[in-house]
């Protein structure tokens, strides 16, 4: 009885130690790798944001230039008419 009890406790302890020792955690190097990846993603997100703003600005500017160009072409017709009357 005493012997089997000792064996049981011993087995429980060994299993416990094995579980505790064998649980695999990420290494410091791996954690650093993950942090670097996160930082890279954050930087890319910022760049996407900047490019989106630049794209919007350019689209507005082009629309504005188009309107100016149309006005300039219309102006040419008006000037032609006015010059005939001068």
């Amino acid at each position: 009885m005493k012997k089997s009890m000792t064996l049981m406790i011993g087995a429980v302890c060994m299993t416990g130690l094995l579980l505790a020792g064998c649980s695999s955690n990420a290494t410091e190097e791996e954690l650093r790798q993950l942090e670097e990846l996160k930082a890279e993603v954050a930087s890319m997100e910022k760049e996407v944001q900047n490019l989106e703003s630049e794209k919007a600005r350019l689209q507005t500017s082009i629309a504005d230039k188009d309107a100016q160009l149309k006005k300039c072409e219309d102006d040419k017709k008006v000037v032609e008419q006015r010059l005939k009357g001068m």
Binding site: G16, A20, S24, L31, M44, V48, K55, I62, V79
Partner: protein, 246 residues
């Protein structure tokens, strides 16, 4: 037996402690999961960035083309008037001069404006001349000149109102015949009055309270001098009455 129980107790404690440490660290599986997630995110962003960079580059080229086309159109517009770059600069300077003068005159009190009414006429001349310039056919100049004319017309209306209220009248203090040769005819003839002797009935009519006989004015009288303008019907009839009684 006691020793075995002790070993068991210590082992259990060690297990509990390791479990606590494990809770604070990232497990290998969790790390791998996160790495996969963030890598996918990065790859997705890389694709997005490549596409965006291309789009922005394309838009920049388009913008540059539009700017060039606009410049070309502007040059063609100016070329239609036959004006050079120097002509454009000079014309713009004139328009600016008109604006500056209008701003200056607009800030004056009615009295000061009245005293400087010759400048209003001068601005009208500048505007009239500018309208004769072919560059004025260009809408942006045309509109600016139209606006300037409108502002000048408002000043003229103010002057007219001021003159009609009688407040715009100049005064003239009569001198002696011996020294100044002052009579209505000679006063009207003076450069700073009307520079036109035939307008004497204007002074006569405006001062009927003082002048009973147009041939007699007394030294020291302060005569009202209405603004220069053609004779009104009242002034003409006053003149006729004078000649009838002569």
């Amino acid at each position: 037996m006691k020793t075995i129980v002790k070993i068991g107790f210590v082992s259990l404690l060690a297990m509990l402690l390791s479990a606590g440490v494990y809770a604070q660290e990232v497990g290998k599986e969790e790390w791998q999961k996160q790495m996969n997630e963030w890598t996918a995110k990065r790859n997705d962003l890389q694709g997005k960035l490549t596409a965006l960079r291309g789009e922005v580059e394309n838009l920049k080229n388009q913008e540059a083309e539009k700017i060039a086309a606009l410049r070309k159109c502007e040059e063609e517009l100016i070329a239609m008037t036959g004006a050079s770059a120097a002509d454009v600069s000079a014309f713009e300077a004139t328009l600016q001069k008109i604006d500056d003068k209008l701003n200056e005159l607009s800030r004056l009190s009615n009295e000061d404006l009245w005293n400087r009414r010759a400048e209003v006429d001068e601005v009208q001349k500048w505007i009239t001349d500018a309208k004769k310039n072919k560059l004025s056919a260009i809408p942006r100049y045309y509109d600016r000149l139209a606006d300037q004319q409108k502002r000048l017309d408002a000043l003229k209306a103010t002057l007219k109102q001021y003159a009609e209220s009688g407040m715009g009248m100049m005064t003239y203090t009569v001198g002696t015949w011996a020294k100044d040769r002052d009579c209505l005819w000679n006063i009207a003839k003076k450069k700073r009055i009307y520079d036109n002797a035939f307008l004497w009935p204007k002074i006569y009519q405006a001062n009927r309270n003082l002048i009973k006989n147009a041939d007699i004015i007394e030294p020291g009288w302060v005569l009202k001098v209405p603004p220069k303008a053609p004779l009104t019907s009242e002034e003409r009839s006053a003149e006729r009455a004078y000649w009838r009684n002569k």
